[in-house]
Structure formats: C-alpha cells, structure tokens
Symmetry: C2
Subunit: 154 residues, 2 copies
C-alpha cells in the first residue's frame, strides 16, 4: 500500500522513481491525431524524410505520460489539489515507437502558503527517461498540496 503524503511530508532532495511504460506506434499516432497532427507524429513515410528519420511521439504525449507515471503511484491521492503550472519544460530527445519511459522526480522546494494555512506548493523536477537512461523530457512542476489534516497519523 502506498503511503499517502501531504505537503509537510516533502523536503528538498527527496527522490522518487516510477515503473516504466512502453509506448507503441498505435498510441503515438492516436494521440497525435487528436492533439498534435504534425506529419512526423502521424505519417511514417513523411516522418522517415523528416529530420527525425521516423515517427516520434508528440511532446505533449510524453509529457502527459511522464506525469501519469508519477501521479498513479497514489502518493498524492489525498493531498493533491492541482497545479498552478510548469516551468522550464524541455524536450531533450525524441521518443520513438517501442521506447520504454519512466519518470524520476526530485523535490526542489516545499513552501507553505502564506494566505491559506491548509496548503502549499511543492516544486518538483521531473525527468522522463528512456530505456537507455537518456533524459527525453525535463521540467519543474508545481504541485499544490494539502497539509496533513489534524488527526491523520503520519
């Protein structure tokens, strides 16, 4: 069972790592058809002639999957109330059909809210890596988290 974490349970330097997920060509094309219909995400022949030399996943696909891998661990299921945003998102290497991704996160900072005493922000650096341990995406996500309610045991 995953230990539920609240704002106060995070400190700079904490690190987490997720299981992997293998991305198929069908998933890449389906996502791109809905959200990022560019030839190098949709059309294997056009992609072969592109600078990428073959189909690559939409960066928004990699982003959403990288986030899901982290959030599905359930650690934040009682505390997360969304996110104000993301900084410094960088797509660092192409993601191709058959690649297996996992996400590593590191807490950069935990800041209780000044105006709302029941919550605060945890800034986390995400790194989505492939099967060769290359970073394919990095970013800093601000997680808005509840503080541990009175009476909830650590």
């Amino acid at each position: 069972m995953t230990v539920k974490r609240y704002l106060d349970d995070f400190a700079a330097g904490d690190r987490f790592s997720t299981p992997g997920i293998t991305l198929t060509e069908a998933q890449i094309i389906d996502f791109a058809l809905c959200y990022d219909p560019q030839p190098f995400h949709l059309d294997a022949r056009a992609a072969a002639d592109s600078p990428y030399g073959g189909l690559i996943a939409s960066g928004f696909h990699t982003l959403a999957l990288g986030f899901r891998l982290f959030i599905q661990n359930g650690m934040l299921s009682e505390s997360s109330i969304g996110s104000p945003g993301i900084d410094e998102l960088r797509w660092r290497a192409p993601v191709r059909p058959g690649d297996t991704l996992h996400t590593q996160t590191e807490v950069l900072e935990m800041t209780p809210s000044r105006s709302k005493p029941d919550r605060g922000i945890v800034r986390m650096r995400y790194a989505v890596r492939n099967q060769r341990d290359e970073e394919v995406l990095t970013m800093v996500v601000m997680h808005l988290l509840r503080r541990r309610p009175c009476g909830v045991a650590v």
Copy 2:
C-alpha cells in the same frame, strides 16, 4: 487555403486566433483516465466535494487541445520541425464540461539559428481562453521552424 509560413514570415507582435472547441464531460474523463487519474478529473461526486466544486479537465488536456487548435490551422505544416520546450506554463482557471476554448497566440521573438542556417526559433505566447474570454492557460512555446527554402514563393 492557409498560407504556409516559414521562420522568416514571423515578426514580434504578429497575432493569430483560432476557432473554438467545446469540451465534453466524456472527453474530460477519458483523457484523465489515461493521463491524469486524479479524483477531481475522474469522479463527479468526489469532484463536487473538492475545492473545484465539480469535474474539471486535466491541465494536460487543456494544454494539448490549446496547442492542437493552433497547429491545425496548417500555417506551420511545411516549416515546423518540433519544439525544444515551453516556459512559464500557468493554469489560470479551471476548465469545466461544456466550456468552449480557443487559442490566441502572439509572436514574442524570431531568432535564426547561429549554427544551423536553415532554421530558427519563434517564441510565441499562447493564451487559451474560454467562452467568457477568461484566460485558462498561458505559456510561451518555442517553435523550431525551417527558413523559407530557395525557390518557394512568398
């Protein structure tokens, strides 16, 4: 027919606006199930008890749709070769079932590459707005674009 644009066809201050798209509850739940399985995106009853008072779209869903609305205009279909990243992404207001979104973009800067003479970066501020013209998402996207090839008429 959409006029195809290359790197050199953009200048700071250029503005573009897209048609709208109405987001359904089913789309919100389907996306969240795949990419952002948090109760306020998935479970109408839990969402009613959340700070949002009802189901809201995953921010990654709003992001991907906001990008798609722009890219589908075809303006970049000959020039786009991807993106190195995004800066200052902010989710500014919740997106709810039935909301209609459109995207406004403004060119901040056009910078030819120093090392690769056939391409460069256009930095664009995106604002995704709802039917009340409220900004729901803003960000700065770096578009990597080809320069106009020799022999292609303006």
